[in-house]
Amino acid sequence: MSDDRTRDGYLWSATGAPDPEIARLEALLAAYAHRGTLPPLPVRARGHRVWRVVLPALTAAASLMLVISAAWLASASRNADPWAVQTLAGTPAVAGAPVDGPSRLAAGQVLTTDSESRARIAVGQIGRVDVEPNSRLRLMRSRPGEHRMALDRGRIAAQIWAPARSFFVNTPSATAIDLGCAYTLDVDASGGGMIRVTHGWVAFEYDGRESFIPAGAVCATRPGFGPGTPRFADAPAAFEQALPVLDFTAPADPRRAEALQRLLAAARPRDGLTLWHLLSRGRAEERTTVYDRLATLVPPPAAASRDAIARADRRALDAWWNELGLDSASWWRVWKSPWRE
């Protein structure tokens, strides 16, 4: 009965202790997963007359994309490789066997470290991941364009030098998507996590909820909620106390109002990163309060009117983001477009 529950739990949530038979099927079948990209889109036009002109060009473009995709896939399939594992301390284990020399981690296999051991993984040709003590990590997929692992518990430190959105780490409550960066990621026994970015950018995503985390910032995640709101590590102490309340409590929780007031009172212009994320989270009255405070710290451009922000209009949000002194929104929008979870 408990075996059935474990199996069904993993089958349903794709997290936690994997059922070996399901994990094996996942590893086998991953090769058939979607790997394409959005084809070039023609100029949108209304009416059939225009399409008589556009359609032949569109068909030609699609055919060209297919030929290019086929060539890319043929070349890409030659480069996929298991990950090399090196012991840094103690005796880590791959698939239950102690690592006492050069070893490899293949898709579907699990690497574990106990309280004494650490390991380093070479992620294909794109970077490396140090696995700290008391960690459990699975390699889900490794192929050109998508290197994906799952951190069930513990801590990893990742340094990735591949193009953005090539390296993904699934946790029980969010997926970390590399945008060209270095970071540490912790996952606790409850499935909650914390990411600390030391270089570049990371996106944290779960079921449509996204956080963009630059170097020097941290962001928590919790099961059932997904990623919280990022803050700079040097943000006032009120941020560290208030954000768990704002991110991981029900909208009607009575502690929210005070938490928001404390956070906004302590906010600096640099904390626009946090306030910008809060513009599209929480209750409507909370978002209005955030709008007013952020407007005093970083004046909104004309496009970011109160109404547009209240509607969570993406162009308005992007326009205000561009005033924060961080990278332009268009930068991560471009990288974001072909993401796969």
Binding site: L29, P39, L66, S69, R340, E341
Partner: protein, 198 residues
């Protein structure tokens, strides 16, 4: 309510009958409001907005196609479905219903593919699978076994085992209720295990 009853009947029955509910219920995606905003922007020519919709639904579209056509054709048809959706965005009456609309386009495109010869340039048979021939054969056998299951199960299992979506993600992106997805996964996996052990 009708869906809940259907699910309960299905579980109590214990047979391998296909639950009707997954294909008859109304689509209510968890992302519906956001989809609506993206569709409106895409109608105005915002390619980035459409790219966001692609990012959200491409694996679902691919999975639904893979449940019906060979893997050598699925990627081609994904592109075809999204180009068709881009062209016909103005036909969509309720922008928030994009997910259900796209699922319908996908199923129709797969049926159309089987009905008449396609003018697509076909990709070679060697879709990138494992280098090891025995693993390659095993992967294909597993995929074929899933594709031999009743439709409701094969769609859900392809989305879970091939595309890597979790149960809640499948529910939110296909419009099936979580209860239906859970039942389809449970029953489908049981049937798949039996098939693979034969």
């Amino acid at each position: 309510m009708a869906d809940v009853l259907t699910t309960l009947e299905f579980v109590a029955d214990g047979s391998t009958a296909i639950p009707v509910a997954p294909h008859t219920e109304r689509f209510v995606a968890a992302h519906a409001a956001d989809d609506g905003r993206l569709v409106s922007a895409a109608r105005d020519g915002d390619r980035g907005a459409f790219a966001s919709l692609y990012e959200r639904y491409a694996r679902v579209v691919h999975g639904l196609l893979l449940a019906r056509v060979g893997p050598e054709h699925a990627e081609d048809l994904v592109q075809d479905v999204f180009l068709m959706a881009w062209r016909r965005l103005d036909d969509l009456r309720d922008p928030a219903a994009f997910g259900g609309w796209l699922v319908t386009i996908t199923r129709n495109r797969a049926m159309d593919f089987h009905r008449r010869p396609t003018d697509f340039v076909e990709l070679p048979e060697d879709v990138p699978v494992a280098d090891d021939p025995s693993q390659r054969a095993e992967a294909r056998a597993a995929l074929d076994a899933i594709r031999g299951l009743p439709e409701a199960y094969r769609e859900t299992l392809v989305l879970r085992l091939v595309e890597g979506l979790s149960g809640p993600e499948i529910a939110s992106r296909t419009g099936l209720t979580p209860a239906s997805v859970r039942v389809n996964l449970h029953r489908g996996m049981k049937l798949l295990r039996e098939k693979l052990r034969r």
